[in-house]
């Protein structure tokens, strides 16, 4: 089959790989019909995730048709059209039984601190992802869901990660009616977090980024107040000033370790690899939120550590909420929102590439070319 493979930082190519096989009675093989490139794939693309091996296929956002199932898979059959949440999870371990599907203990031998994710390095379990013609889906009785009526393929694709992750960020914010929510990052997750914050009752939603075209999009899609932080002398002082010098009630880091905005963080995180990427968005979130407020970390960070002001967390009495989104827990509610027109996930899709063009897709997304917000990959066997 044809599959995207990682070659090194900033380099991917499409090559022939053996088709995946059933390796466990609960496995399924899915023929991918649509995949997406996620903002967190960019962390991989930049070589920031440890134990990222040459030859791995990325892609944790995909939908497809069930091609084959293992002998113990009873919830799916060949021909079913499914969306596959990005979490590889068993549904029965200590953590899954508590609904922590992003923290499954039975699917990632390489690390206990990281749940398993399709196509996201061996630190996340070593699974090949969905930017390919076929993909192996473990624990198929639990993970994948048949796409329900009223949900389009593009909406379903966005419901595998980006939309639920943004929604989960707002849920983790413990927003109370009238709260001011400040979101760092106007990428897909930040956009969905802004939309979701209103559903939770926010009184004010402010999004900041350095890309005007993304701010323009989220200002209408959220809607949201937007400000390009590159126009600000000191973003933290500005966010305090426009919140009556109190600070936002909730600050959401929807950027993660690939941020820009600090020379020191970039030098130590990217060039010198002394920390896991650039943590300036988290740094700003901690400093911009009010005392007693909540900071949500939904942007992806890799091990081992980052430079953030821990003293301010203590001295301000902050609550930190962070986790990978347990996609399946939010899907029933999100289906309702999509059907009711409260969230339109597919509207963020701006580009489509064939699988053979995926290196161009990564370049367009990474370099923010042509107004790209969300690129979708169409495998040739689709």
């Amino acid at each position: 089959m044809r599959a995207m493979t990682y070659r090194g930082p900033f380099r991917v190519r499409v090559e022939d790989k053996p088709e995946p096989e059933i390796l466990h009675p609960n496995d399924a093989i899915v023929r991918v019909t649509r995949a997406a490139i996620c903002g967190s794939d960019i962390h991989l693309y930049h070589g920031l995730m440890p134990d990222l091996r040459v030859g791995q296929t990325f892609g944790h956002e995909f939908i497809g048709i069930v091609q084959e199932v293992g002998p113990e898979v009873h919830n799916l059959k060949p021909g079913d059209k499914v969306l596959v949440p990005f979490n590889v999870c068993c549904g029965t371990c200590y953590f899954c039984s508590r609904g922590l599907y992003g923290n499954c203990h039975n699917t990632n031998p390489n690390a206990t601190a990281v749940g398993a994710i399709y196509g996201y390095s061996h630190t996340a379990g070593g699974y090949d992802g969905g930017q390919a013609e076929y993909v192996r889906v473990p624990f198929a009785n639990f993970g994948p869901e048949i796409i329900p009526d009223g949900i389009s393929d593009d909406d379903a694709l966005m419901l595998t990660d980006a939309c639920p992750t943004g929604y989960h960020a707002a849920v983790m914010g413990d927003i109370t009616p009238g709260d001011t929510v400040l979101i760092f990052g106007a990428g897909p997750v930040g956009i969905f977090a802004a939309r979701s914050a209103w559903l939770m009752g926010a009184g004010r939603v402010i999004v900041t980024d350095h890309l005007d075209y993304r701010l323009d999009f989220v200002s209408r899609y959220g809607p949201a107040e937007v400000i390009n932080y590159t126009h600000l002398k000191d973003p933290i002082v500005y966010f305090k000033k426009i919140t009556e010098h109190i600070g936002a009630d909730v600050a959401i880091d929807a950027v993660g370790c690939d941020a820009s905005g600090s020379v020191l963080q970039s030098l130590t995180g990217f060039q010198l690899k002394l920390q896991a990427g650039n943590a300036v968005a988290l740094h700003w979130a901690i400093n911009s939120v009010r005392k007693g407020g909540t900071v949500v970390i939904i942007g992806a960070y890799g091990p081992p550590y980052n430079l953030v002001p821990v003293g301010s967390i203590v001295n301000k009495g902050l609550t930190i909420h962070a986790n990978q989104c347990p996609v399946k827990r939010h899907l029933p509610r999100l289906y309702e929102h999509v059907r009711a027109g409260r969230i339109k996930p597919s509207e963020i899709i701006t580009h489509r590439f064939s699988l053979e063009e995926i290196s161009e897709g990564y370049r367009v997304f990474t370099s923010k070319l042509d107004g790209c917000i969300k690129p979708v990959v169409m495998p040739s066997a689709a």
């Binding site: 091996r53 200590y94 927003i175 009616p177 809607p223 426009i242 081992p304 070319l369």
Partner: protein
């Protein structure tokens, strides 16, 4: 910022307090701050507040009677290649990915890294080093396998040329000038060497 002492009559004692608050800083928005897309009455935003109850009732963890790490597992995937296992796991997980089996010097480095727990810097930093070695090994290995890396294609530079033609043309022209200058320098140096030999 400096807070200036208010002027006062030299004869009078300075007041220790006042009922007039000090001047407050400006709280106006920056000119670039966009607000007009948000309705004045935020409660009219599509879907406002419909999940207030959902969120309030969302438990971080669901109740469970599973108290072992693995829970009930019926089947275990059998490794066909080496699988690295975190030393913080009780045993091999029931399933695991088989994307890229370790090998070569990078594989030895990974073997070393997995001797240490996830709290140890040498675990992660050794893995990062192994990743760089792995890239070099595959770069060389793929030349011998007859499918060498195509940097231009793999880096997606065609997209840069397509969507940033002006900027990339400038870069190409500057690159050509730089290469030409280097070539001219080498040629001049070689010729001058030849002249000296002739003498």
């Amino acid at each position: 910022m400096t807070v200036h002492v208010p002027e006062r009559d030299a004869e009078s004692r300075p007041a220790g307090w006042t009922t007039t608050p000090p001047p407050t800083r400006d709280t106006s928005l920056a000119p670039e701050h966009v607000t007009e897309t948000v309705p004045t009455d935020y409660k009219t935003v599509n879907g406002w507040g419909v999940d207030v109850e959902y969120q309030a009732k969302y438990p971080k963890e669901l109740p469970s009677d599973v108290f072992t790490a693995r829970g009930n597992v019926d089947y275990w995937q059998v490794p066909q290649d080496k699988v690295h296992l975190s030393i913080e796991h009780p045993n091999l997980t029931p399933v695991f990915g088989v994307s890229s089996a370790p090998g070569g010097l990078s594989g030895l480095l990974r073997d070393y890294a997995y001797n240490f727990g996830e709290g140890a810097n040498r675990h992660w930093l050794t893995l990062l080093a192994a990743d760089r070695v792995d890239i070099l090994e595959n770069l060389i290995g793929d030349i011998f396998r007859g499918r060498p890396d195509n940097y231009v294609r793999e880096k997606g530079w065609s997209a840069k040329l397509k969507y940033e033609p002006g900027r990339n043309k400038r870069m190409m022209i500057l690159g050509a000038i730089a290469l030409g200058a280097v070539a001219a320098g080498v040629a001049l140096y070689t010729l001058s060497d030849g002249d000296e030999d002739d003498d």
